[in-house]
């Protein structure tokens, strides 16, 4: 059963449309890549441990032949110990390099050009407000144009919440008295679930919204529409 697990996991990951692994932005794709990379490396580790585990428990299981045996004293093994100290370092390095890269990339939220769209995201118990530069405000939906860079300015008026659109980009907390930012360029039109990820009290579960990514012209039209 233990051997089957990795296979099962792969089946699940490819079989279902798991939201975080089907990203619709480059940042989201980077994060999905990291998840898959770390998963791959770690499955190697799990496989090694499971194989050794099965071999040892099957082979050295107490039976009628060895019941009276007294195993030889074994202090340890220099070679083996060096091996399982250094190999993890190598594996971790493979993961650490892209981690550092993408972490720095994800925290660069400076607008790339004049054309960048800015949206204020204001979280409160238990509601989201999305305020556009022209003064337009929405609550239940965040509307974004496709293929255009957007910087989200995350704020909170009461407790800590967390802005999360799994298919678009990983979460970032909204903290009272502070402003956090996220930069993302959605590259596929569609409607994506958004959620509050940080527990914020009674209505936390219902603090949901939709992110609608629509073509640029439609977006301009929508933006100039009076509400």
């Amino acid at each position: 059963m233990k051997k089957l697990l990795p296979v099962l996991i792969m089946l699940f990951l490819t079989g279902c449309n798991v939201r975080t692994l089907n990203p619709v932005s480059e940042t989201g794709a980077d994060q999905a890549f990291l998840i898959k990379l770390s998963f791959g490396i770690m499955m190697f580790v799990v496989a090694v441990v499971c194989v050794l585990f099965i071999i040892f428990t099957v082979k050295y299981h107490e039976n009628d032949l060895n019941r009276k045996d007294i195993p030889k004293h074994e202090e340890g093994s220099r070679v083996l110990e060096i091996l399982w100290t250094t190999i993890p370092f190598v594996l971790l390095a493979i993961l650490a390099v892209p981690t550092v890269m993408y972490t720095f990339q994800a925290s660069n939220t400076e607008a790339g050009s004049e054309d960048t769209l800015h949206v204020d995201v204001i979280a409160e118990q238990w509601n989201w407000t999305f305020a556009y530069e022209n003064g337009k405000e929405t609550h239940k939906e965040l509307v974004l144009p496709v293929d255009r860079e957007v910087v989200l300015h995350l704020k909170s008026t009461d407790v800590i919440h967390s802005f999360w659109v799994p298919r678009l980009i990983g979460k970032r907390d909204t903290i009272p008295g502070e402003e956090n930012e996220l930069k993302v360029t959605p590259d596929q039109t569609g409607t994506y679930q958004g959620k509050c990820a940080e527990f914020c009290g009674l209505g936390h579960t219902d603090m949901r919204f939709d992110t609608e990514v629509i073509p640029a012209e439609e977006f301009e039209e929508w933006l100039s529409e009076e509400k």
């Binding site: 770390s38 040892f56 007294i70 083996l80 800590i160 990983g170 008295g177 679930q193 990820a197 579960t205």
Partner: protein
């Protein structure tokens, strides 16, 4: 349900009524059993003695009771999440928030931590050839502080005031601006009182391990459970005071309108730093002793010494050190900046190296051994793959950019249960089966133990494995419902079934204990063909089992003395050692602190003053009394003769 009382109508939710009803039913049954079997003297003996084994047994007993309570909370949660938009009983919204807060807090502070301290109490002195802990009186005080804290927290629900801010108590939600009322005060005082007890236990363990080892038992010959206990004690001594400070600041915010965690001067993120500077070491405080237990059990049931003993000790130490500098990995989404995120990402990844060393050493301890599949060993075997799966998702989480997706989702829920149940809870079960003869003189039934193990392990993986996927599919933690189109129904359904299976497995465990006490066979001495000193004494051990100190000149000395057919050499002179005495003082202190805490929780100043006076008077009483005087007098008289 609405009641009219004195002309006023009072609303009491049905779950609270059910809680009181179950108390009304259970109390007479327990009383009946106690009276019928005349347990009074045993109860008096256990609740007032300073003997380490009895205190340890009490720790384990009460942790187990809290485990059942918090487990019931988990079952309610899983039932609420059984199907999309389910409405089970009252557990939506606030009541659900109370469930997961109680479940998390209780499992961490009143189950995982004290059950390990209980096991240390039972085993560590015997494993190092000490007659008792260095400070037996302090030990009993520590136990009563744990029991008082646990009881305060336990009672919150019965007053319809269970804490509801999550076990991490993030500010400013945890301040009185957003969660007014007594609810979260129960959290503060429950943890504050029991935390003090944990600190006392740590000091006691340190002093015992450093000062009271048998002659010749150098640190480099010590079994790994005492080693893990020693390092854990240092971690407790660093981490728990930080929690105490954080709780005190929160108390001032809540009760006296201070603004440490909100407003112009304060900052909510201060709480997160303080909490996780405590919280991450806490993870290792409950993991390291588990590692120690498994090292001893795997070695014992493979009939082989621990492979790579030195690297085992070094990696324990390294994990302990690294545990102190990774706390920000719980805060990757706070926005502390790329530099700090990557720094803490790397330090977190590094923990995988010493942990990996330990895993391979366990595996190679079994290699070329003779593995006897008894119940304790089954739990140890279940631990290895389970814990490795939790460990690798830990590495995945440490990748800061990827954590933006994992954080606060069911992926984290899955990870933390894999790690904590995988290590601490499996270790606690393994150790209970293993050391049961020491605690009670009887041995638990092996077949029932295996039923318990398999059902628990299968139930566990059913419950938590698919939660990884629910998290990756965008299910945040701490939500009481999900919709059909979220697509996480199948995961949640199977998860709930797994939780029921785990509950069934616990019935086997309870039945095993009842059966063993009714008709179980005496364990006899050294029932597992042990290697370490605790098996060199009768089960259960008498008080002062090492009146003649064994002299140790190698690791697993007891095993070698059996192999070579030579009795353990003993030292010529007995060593003066602590004496188990009877004392009611800690019980009195517990009552005083209980009153004091309720005074603060409900803001009753007169009760605070009363509780304060009573608590302080314990110090005065203690200053003028010494429960050992009698024994000293007797000794002196004997010397004069």
């Amino acid at each position: 349900m609405e009641f009219s009382f004195n002309g006023k109508s009072v609303f009491v939710p049905t779950d609270v009524i059910a809680g009181w009803l179950s108390v009304l039913i259970i109390t007479p049954i327990v009383l009946y059993i106690i009276i019928k079997n005349r347990y009074w003297s045993t109860i008096l003996d256990y609740t007032t003695t300073t003997n380490h084994r009895k205190i340890g047994t009490l720790y384990i007993l009460f942790s187990m009771l809290f485990f059942l309570r918090a487990g019931v909370d988990a079952l309610f949660m899983r039932t609420q999440l059984l199907t999309p938009e389910n409405e089970f009983w009252v557990f939506q919204g606030e009541k659900y928030n109370e469930l997961f807060t109680t479940h998390g807090t209780m499992m961490i502070f009143f189950v995982a931590t004290p059950i390990l301290i209980g096991l240390m109490n039972v085993a560590v002195p015997l494993q190092i050839g000490a007659n008792d802990l260095a400070f037996p009186y302090l030990n009993l005080v520590g136990f009563y502080l744990f029991l008082t804290g646990g009881t305060i927290f336990f009672l919150a629900f019965f007053f319809n005031a269970a804490p509801n801010m999550g076990w991490t108590a993030y500010a400013p939600l945890s301040t009185d601006s957003y969660t007014p009322g007594p609810n979260n005060n129960f959290y503060i005082f429950g943890l504050q009182v029991s935390g003090l007890g944990t600190i006392f236990a740590a000091i006691n363990m340190m002093a015992t391990i450093i000062r009271l080892r048998a002659p010749g038992l150098t640190l480099s010959r010590m079994p790994l459970f005492p080693w893990a206990t020693l390092i854990t004690s240092f971690l407790i001594l660093i981490a728990f005071p930080v929690l105490a400070i954080a709780l005190l600041l929160l108390q001032f915010d809540r009760l006296y309108d201070a603004t440490f965690f909100l407003g112009e001067l304060g900052h909510p993120v201060y709480w997160q730093h303080l909490f996780w500077i405590f919280g991450h070491p806490e993870v290792y405080i409950i993991a390291l002793p588990a590692f120690g237990i498994f090292s001893d059990i795997i070695s014992n049931f493979s009939r082989k010494n621990v492979f790579g003993y030195t690297s085992m000790v070094i990696s324990l130490t390294l994990i302990g050190l690294l545990a102190l500098m990774v706390w920000v990995h719980h805060m990757f989404t706070v926005g502390l900046g790329a530099f700090s995120n990557t720094f803490f990402a790397i330090t977190s990844m590094l923990i995988a190296v010493p942990t990996g060393i330990k895993v391979f050493n366990w595996l190679f301890t079994m290699r070329r051994g003779v593995i006897s599949m008894k119940a304790p060993m089954m739990f140890a075997l279940g631990f290895i793959p389970t814990f490795v799966m939790g460990g690798v998702t830990g590495v995945m989480l440490s990748s800061a950019a990827a954590d933006m997706q994992f954080h606060d989702s069911y992926f984290v829920v899955a990870h933390l249960h894999y790690v904590i149940i995988g290590s601490t809870i499996l270790a606690a079960f393994a150790a209970i089966y293993y050391w049961y003869p020491i605690m009670t003189g009887k041995i638990l039934d092996d077949t029932l133990g295996k039923w318990h193990f398999w059902l628990f392990l299968i139930g566990f993986h059913l419950t938590f494995f698919l939660q990884h996927l629910a998290g990756l599919d965008g299910m945040p933690r701490r939500v009481y419902e999900y919709t059909q189109e979220d697509g996480v129904w199948s995961y949640n359904f199977i998860s709930s079934i797994g939780a029921y299976l785990m509950a069934v497995s616990m019935l086997f465990f309870l039945w095993n204990i009842i059966k063993t006490h009714r008709s179980g066979a005496k364990a006899g001495d050294d029932p597992w063909d042990g290697r370490t000193l605790e098996w060199s004494v009768p089960s259960p051990p008498p008080e002062h089992p090492f009146e003649r100190m064994p002299v140790i000149d190698r690791r697993d000395m007891f095993w070698w003395s059996k192999i070579n057919n030579k009795p353990l050499p003993v030292a010529k002179n007995p060593r003066p050692s602590p004496i188990a005495r009877r004392t009611f003082q800690p019980m009195f202190l517990a009552g005083s602190l209980f009153i004091l805490s309720f005074g603060f929780i409900y803001g009753w100043v007169w009760v605070q003053i009363l509780g304060g006076i009573l608590s302080l008077s314990t110090f005065v009483i203690r200053a003028f009394s010494d429960e050992r005087t009698e024994a000293y007098k007797r000794e002196e008289e004997e010397n004069e003769q």
